[in-house]
C-alpha cells in the first residue's frame, strides 16, 4: 500500500468513529466495549475478543448534559455525557470508567447509556507495595464483569497474547512519533493527531499492521528540512481539529507530545511478570510523569524539559482542558520551570464545545511570531 493510502485510510478511520468501529467489529467478528478517558486496561477487553473503544468526547452541542452536570465539569466529560444521553454509545457491550479524578469518580456512578458501566479505581500511591495487589483485584473485577456481561471466559493465554500485541503496538507508536517528528512535511499536526486517534476505533491487530507499514515507509524518506517552528504539546488532548489547524496556519509543527490522548497512551509497556493481571497492574505503577497519576516528585516537569530538548523544539504549548483539575494544578509549576529553562510557553484552553477559536488563534499567532 502506498504511504498516502495508509495515511488516508487512518485519517478517514479517525474521522468516522462509529463507521470504523462497526466495520472493525464486522471484519473481526467481535463486539465493541468502550472505555472512558484517560486510561483503562484495554488488554483485558481485547482478550475478551472485543474491540476496545476509547471514549474521549467530541465536538457536540450540549443540551441534555446540562441536566446532569454543572457548567464547571470538564469539557470532555460534558461531551461524553451528551453523547450518553443521546444513545451514541448504546451499541457498546459495556463501558469501563476509571475513577482518576473527582469528576470521573462521580461519572462512573451516573452512566446514562444502556450498556453496563464498569467503574474501577487506579491506586494512586504507586510506591506502596500493596498498590499492585489492589489494582490486580480491580482488574480481576473488570475481567469477571466482562465475562458475566459477554457470557465468555477470558483465558490467561488470551490475556498474555493481548499484552504481547499491546506492547508491540505501544513500541511501534513510540517509533512512529519519533520518525514523524522529522517527517513533518507529510505528517502534519492534523495528520499526526488523526493517525494516533484512529487507534481508538480499530482492532489493534489491524491498526498495528498499518502503523508498521507506515513507519517502514516513512523511515525510507529523508528527514525534512522544514523551516517551521518545532512545538511540543502537553495536556489531556488537542482537539477539536480547528485548534490544530492554527498550528499549521502559523507554521508550527508538532514534533512531540505529552498528551493523555496521544503519547501517554503508549509511553509505558506492561512488563512480563508471569501473571497477566499483575503485568497490567505493574504497567500502571510504573507509568510516570503524568498529571493523572500521583506524581509527588513532579516528574512530569522534568519530562517536559527533556522532551523539548530531545526534539530540539522551539516551544511548549499547554493544551489545558477546561475545568480539568489535575492538569490545572500543574500549570503554575510548568510555567515557573519553563521560564527558568528559557523555553517559550503558551497556554491554550481546550473546550470541546467551542465553535470558534479566536482566543486560541490570537495566542498561537503571537506565540509563533515570538519564538
Amino acid at each position: 500500500m502506498e504511504i498516502n493510502n495508509i495515511i488516508d485510510y487512518l485519517v478517514k478511520s479517525a474521522d468516522s468513529p462509529e463507521k470504523t468501529i462497526k466495520e472493525s467489529c464486522k471484519k473481526n467478528n467481535k463486539e465493541a466495549v468502550g472505555w472512558v478517558a484517560p486510561y483503562a486496561p484495554e488488554e483485558i477487553v481485547y482478550a475478551a475478543n472485543c474491540i476496545p473503544v476509547g471514549i474521549w468526547g467530541g465536538q457536540v452541542e450540549l443540551t441534555k448534559a446540562r441536566i446532569y452536570l454543572p457548567a464547571f465539569a470538564c469539557s470532555i466529560m460534558q461531551s461524553i455525557m451528551e453523547y450518553e444521553t443521546r444513545g451514541t454509545y448504546d451499541f457498546l457491550k459495556a463501558v469501563l470508567i476509571p475513577a482518576v479524578c473527582d469528576t470521573l469518580k462521580c461519572f462512573g456512578q451516573k452512566w446514562k447509556g444502556t450498556c453496563k458501566a464498569i467503574p474501577f479505581v487506579f491506586p494512586q500511591n504507586r510506591e506502596a507495595k500493596s498498590a499492585e495487589a489492589f489494582l490486580e483485584s480491580e482488574y480481576k473485577y473488570i475481567k469477571e464483569k466482562l465475562e458475566e456481561i459477554l457470557g465468555i471466559t477470558i483465558t490467561e493465554k488470551a490475556l498474555e497474547d493481548s499484552i504481547v500485541l499491546y506492547n508491540d503496538y505501544r513500541s511501534e507508536m513510540r517509533r512512529f512519533v519519533e520518525i514523524a517528528s522529522n517527517r513533518t512535511d507529510i505528517i502534519t499536526p492534523l495528520i499526526r493527531h488523526k493517525i494516533i486517534k484512529a487507534s481508538y476505533f480499530m482492532d489493534k491487530k489491524d491498526y498495528l499492521e498499518y502503523i508498521k507499514e507506515l513507519n517502514k515507509r516513512l523511515r525510507l524518506m529523508p528527514a525534512n528540512r522544514s523551516k517551521n517552528k518545532r512545538i511540543v504539546v502537553t495536556g489531556i488532548m488537542l482537539e477539536p481539529d480547528g485548534v490544530i489547524e492554527y498550528f499549521e496556519k502559523y507554521g508550527m509543527d508538532i514534533v512531540g507530545d505529552d498528551l493523555a490522548h496521544e503519547s501517554r497512551q503508549f509511553r509505558t509497556d506492561a512488563p512480563f511478570s508471569g501473571r497477566s493481571l499483575n503485568s497490567l497492574a505493574k504497567r500502571w505503577t510504573s507509568h510516570s510523569a503524568c498529571s493523572l497519576a500521583f506524581d509527588p516528585y513532579k516528574e512530569r516537569i522534568q519530562y517536559l524539559v527533556d522532551l523539548v530538548n530531545h526534539h530540539n523544539a522551539d516551544g511548549l504549548v499547554i493544551a489545558l482542558m477546561k475545568f480539568c483539575d489535575p492538569e490545572e494544578y500543574d500549570v503554575p509549576i510548568i510555567m515557573d520551570r519553563m521560564k527558568k529553562e528559557n523555553i517559550p510557553l503558551q497556554v491554550i484552553e481546550i473546550d470541546q464545545q467551542a465553535k470558534s477559536f479566536e482566543q486560541i488563534n490570537t495566542r498561537l499567532q503571537s506565540f509563533a511570531e515570538n519564538i
Binding site: 441536566i67 446532569y68 452536570l69 454543572p70 464547571f72 465539569a73 475513577a99 482518576v100 479524578c101 473527582d102 469528576t103 469518580k105 462521580c106 461519572f107 462512573g108 456512578q109 451516573k110 467503574p119 474501577f120 479505581v121 491506586p123 494512586q124 500511591n125 506502596a128 507495595k129 500493596s130 498498590a131 495487589a133 489492589f134 483485584s137 480491580e138 498529571s291 500521583f294 506524581d295 509527588p296 516528585y297 513532579k298 489545558l320 475545568f323 483539575d325 489535575p326 490545572e328 494544578y329 500543574d330 500549570v331 503554575p332 509549576i333 510555567m335
Partner: protein, 406 residues
C-alpha cells in the same frame, strides 16, 4: 495541666483550644520542631504519636474565608497561574504559602512535611503534590480508593491498611526515632473516643426542637478537624453534649430568639464567606439546619490497636461512598434528624460535592417526597455567591415545606 476546665462552657473551650493549636504550631516551628500540614480527615493518630504539631490547611482556609481575608490569597494564586475553578481552599493555601514562604513568623506556619488522605477528594493529591514540590518536603500519603461498588471491599481495606504501616516506617525515618507503639495505642483510643464524643454531641440535633443550630456545629467542627488526637477535644464535645441535653430538657432550640418551624438538611460544605448570611436567611424563616453529613464524617470509630478497623473507618466515610452509599447516608440523616427540606450547596470549589447532586436529589425527592433547593456558592471564594439568589431559593423552599406540612 490542661488549659481548659469543667467550669468552662464548651464554646469557651472551643475558642481556647483552636487558638492554642495554632499557637502550639507556631511555637514548635520557632523551636525548630517539625510541623505537618494535613488534610482534614487524614489519620492524625500517626503524627500525634510522633509529637509532630499538625495543622490543617482546609481549616485555616475556611477561617480566612469566614474573616473575609481570602481574596488576597485567591488572587495571588491566580496570578501564579492557578485556574479560578480550582478548589478555593487550595487556592487560598497555595497563595498563602507562596506569599509567606520568605517570612519568618507567620500565623499559619509552613510545614516540614505533609500528610494527605484522599478519602474526601482527589483534588488533595494535586494540591499536596504542589506543596511538597514547592517546599521540597516529604509527602506522606494514605491513598484511599473510591468505593465505586456498594460495599467497602476487603481489597480496598487491605490496601489502605498496608499504607498505614508504611506511614509508621516513613515517620521513623523523618523523625529519626522509633515509633512508640504504646503511645500510638493511647492516641488511637483518644481519637476514637473523640470521634464518638463528636458524633454523640452533634447527633443531638435529632431532638425537636434541635438544641443546636447546624451553623454552630460548623464552628465546633474546627476542633474535630484540628484536635482529634488530643484529649481536650473529647472533653469539649462531652461538655457540649451535656449542655445540649440540658437544653433538650428545657425544650430550648438552637436558633437564637426564633422558634424552630422547619428542619433542613444542608448538603455540602458551608459557604464560609457568607456564613452569617446563609444562617440568617434560614433563621428568619424559622428554619434550622438539623441535618448534615458532618457528624458522621468524623465518626471514625475503631478498636484502638486494630489497624484493619482503622483502615476500614477511613475508607468507608461518606464522601468516599458510591452513589447508592451517599444517597442512603442522606436518607438516614433526613430520617434521624427529622428534616422536611434539603438545601444543596452547588459549591463551585468542590466537584466531589456537586457532581452527584442531581442523582442524589432526584432519589431523595422520589423516595422521600422531600422538597429540595440548590444554590450557587463557594466554600471560600466570595465571588461565586449571590445573596439574592440564596434568599429567593430559600424562600421557595420554605413555601414548599409549608405546603407539605399543611
Amino acid at each position: 495541666m490542661s488549659i481548659i476546665n469543667e467550669n468552662m462552657t464548651s464554646k469557651e473551650m472551643l475558642g481556647i483550644l483552636v487558638d492554642k493549636n495554632m499557637e502550639d504550631a507556631r511555637k514548635a516551628k520557632a523551636r525548630g520542631e517539625l510541623v505537618c500540614w494535613s488534610s482534614s480527615i487524614a489519620p492524625c493518630e500517626f503524627t500525634e504519636t510522633m509529637g509532630i504539631c499538625t495543622i490543617y490547611p482546609e481549616n485555616y482556609a475556611a477561617v480566612l474565608a469566614a474573616k473575609k481575608l481570602a481574596p488576597e490569597f485567591l488572587e495571588h494564586a491566580e496570578r501564579k497561574g492557578y485556574a479560578n475553578d480550582i478548589c478555593g481552599y487550595a487556592r487560598i493555601n497555595l497563595g498563602y504559602m507562596d506569599l509567606k514562604k520568605e517570612l519568618d513568623e507567620i500565623e499559619f506556619p509552613l510545614p516540614d512535611l505533609v500528610l494527605l488522605c484522599n478519602n474526601i477528594c482527589e483534588t488533595l493529591l494535586k494540591w499536596y503534590e504542589n506543596i511538597a514540590y514547592e517546599l521540597n518536603i516529604p509527602l506522606l500519603i494514605v491513598d484511599v480508593p473510591y468505593n465505586h461498588g456498594d460495599e467497602v471491599t476487603e481489597e480496598n481495606i487491605k490496601y489502605v491498611e498496608s499504607q498505614l504501616y508504611d506511614i509508621i516506617h516513613q515517620l521513623e525515618l523523618i523523625c529519626k526515632k522509633p515509633f512508640d507503639m504504646d503511645k500510638f495505642q493511647e492516641v488511637m483510643k483518644i481519637a476514637s473516643d473523640n470521634a464518638t464524643a463528636w458524633y454523640g454531641a452533634t447527633s443531638l440535633c435529632s431532638a425537636v426542637p434541635s438544641p443546636l443550630s447546624g451553623f454552630d456545629m460548623f464552628n465546633y467542627m474546627a476542633l474535630i478537624v484540628c484536635m482529634r488526637g488530643k484529649k481536650e477535644c473529647g472533653v469539649t464535645f462531652k461538655k457540649l453534649k451535656a449542655e445540649l441535653e440540658e437544653k433538650i430538657k428545657r425544650g430550648e432550640g438552637g436558633l437564637k430568639g426564633v422558634e424552630e418551624k422547619h428542619r433542613i438538611m444542608w448538603d455540602g460544605i458551608a459557604c464560609w464567606p457568607y456564613l452569617s448570611h446563609t444562617y440568617k436567611v434560614l433563621k428568619n424563616k424559622g428554619a434550622n439546619m438539623t441535618g448534615s453529613t458532618y457528624p458522621s464524617a468524623w465518626a471514625l470509630e475503631y478498636t484502638p490497636g486494630n489497624l484493619y478497623e482503622m483502615a476500614k473507618a477511613y475508607t468507608g466515610m461518606g464522601n468516599n461512598l458510591s452513589l447508592k452509599g451517599q444517597t442512603d447516608l442522606r436518607k438516614g440523616i433526613i430520617k434521624e434528624t427529622k428534616c422536611n427540606g434539603v438545601v444543596m450547596h452547588l459549591n463551585r470549589s468542590c466537584k466531589m460535592c456537586d457532581f452527584l447532586q442531581y442523582e442524589i436529589g432526584k432519589e431523595l425527592q422520589d423516595s422521600m417526597d422531600i422538597p429540595i433547593t440548590t444554590f450557587d456558592g463557594d466554600q471560600a471564594d466570595p465571588r461565586n455567591y449571590s445573596e439574592a439568589q440564596y434568599e429567593t431559593r430559600i424562600e421557595a423552599l420554605v413555601e414548599m415545606m409549608e405546603q407539605k406540612s399543611r
